[in-house]
Amino acid sequence: MSDKQEFEPRIIYILCSWCGSGGGETAAAHHLHYPENVRPYRVNCTGALPTVHIIRPLIEGADGVAISGCHPGDCHYNDGNFRARRRVALVKSILDTLDLEPERVWFRYVAHGEGRRFVDTATEFNDHIKKLGPNPLKTRSDT
């Protein structure tokens, strides 16, 4: 139990450069705080995110990968988020089939103005991953 409390997850938070990142900017403008171990990674659009970019961190050291882009209909490029959703579904299906904890991947829309939601997502995801415990893959040397 105490181990789990001390466990500090390493989290990659993949953000689209419009809404997802914008949420982070709004959060910053309001000085809202979230755990330091959530590390943002910006892509132009969640629709530009190859599946490998979700899988790789999970193997190479992340305890969780969260992805936030624009709400349905808000995508700066029209449909990138719908495409991202399909890709996330695919990755989750693969992880699920292999019992590799698909719940380590989160996909949640965050709009530019949603600083609160951004921070809540980072915090909630961090708590959620803490409950799950460390990602066993990231310490496996034989991957």
Partner: protein, 390 residues
Amino acid sequence: MNNKGAILPAEDGVESAVIGWLKEALSKKVFDALLIPVEVPAGDSFAYLLLRNPALLENASPLPPVMPVQGAKAISRLTMRGNGSKRVAAIVRPCEARAAIELTKLEQAHLDNLWLITVDCPGVLPLSDYLEDPVAGAARFAEASQRWDRAPMRPVCQICHHFSMPASDLHIGTLGSAEGTVFVIPGSPKGERVMENLGMPLDAALDDWAARVKEMEEVQRERRRQAHTDLKAGIAGPDGLLDVFSSCINCHNCQRVCPVCYCRQCYFESAALKLPPENYLARAGRKGALRFPPDTLLFHIGRASHMVLSCVSCGTCEDACPMSIPVAQVFSLLADRAQETFGYVAGRSLEDPLPLVAYEMDELHQVEQPYVETYHGLQIADCEQEVQDA
């Protein structure tokens, strides 16, 4: 689909009947050339031959005991740059035809001038089993396929439920046919035209065939389900999975022989993953060690994310694995689950759009993480309590 077919006499067995039929088609100029497995000169394996000379059909086999090369790969090689001018009949197994359909959607094959001809498939032997003693292998195959006994066949063939007519142009139905005959079944207008040109009226009812196929499909489906359940128990979680792939030598041969892995250079061999030494040392430092070459698991999962939606479970990967990893079985499981997510069946039809190209606005909400409103803000639970109280 037409629910009528024609009956082809096959007193001397399916193989010679089909070969004879193809010879006739060649001589009648219904086809200009055939793409068909032919025994190699040393007699110890089979290879796809594109032939126009009927004499070369002597050692051909529409149902060879092994599948050294996935036929869709041969079709792709022939037509990747466009439709040919010659009418080619490709005699392939159902899984090969399905892969050809996928490759066509991926612009790696062009089928306008190519007829996919399939035969009810009893499966094939594992390549290594066969190569150990080709003569004995051939006999074992003949005996087992006669009885539709899949036990000696490759593990994925044992659980194949798409062994009969895929979206091919013509299909040879051997199941449910009367002794000494087979059905010839057109599956497309293109196929019907061929029947017409060959003077084969569509007057045979296919009920017996369809019933037998259905019956066997159900058995196979159940087998598949059971096998997948057992398999899943074995590969579950990081421990199981890494056990299964622990002996992988990173030769990437599974990818190289995979018909739907159409990339000239695989992403997992690309510059993206070639990193400076400090990267490898840092990763090793995090884990205590880094398997080298790195990215074995990334390759398998990543490759899965690239191709499982088009995977036809043909088993070629497993045949080509020097370490006997049950890669085809694992991928058949991944493929079934992933394709189910999108309501897609690889190779079912040319019309179904590839799942990652299309999308619906209203779908897959299960992957959207619901927002627990004001997670750390106002105590929403209290408010809800309030609502309930009210």
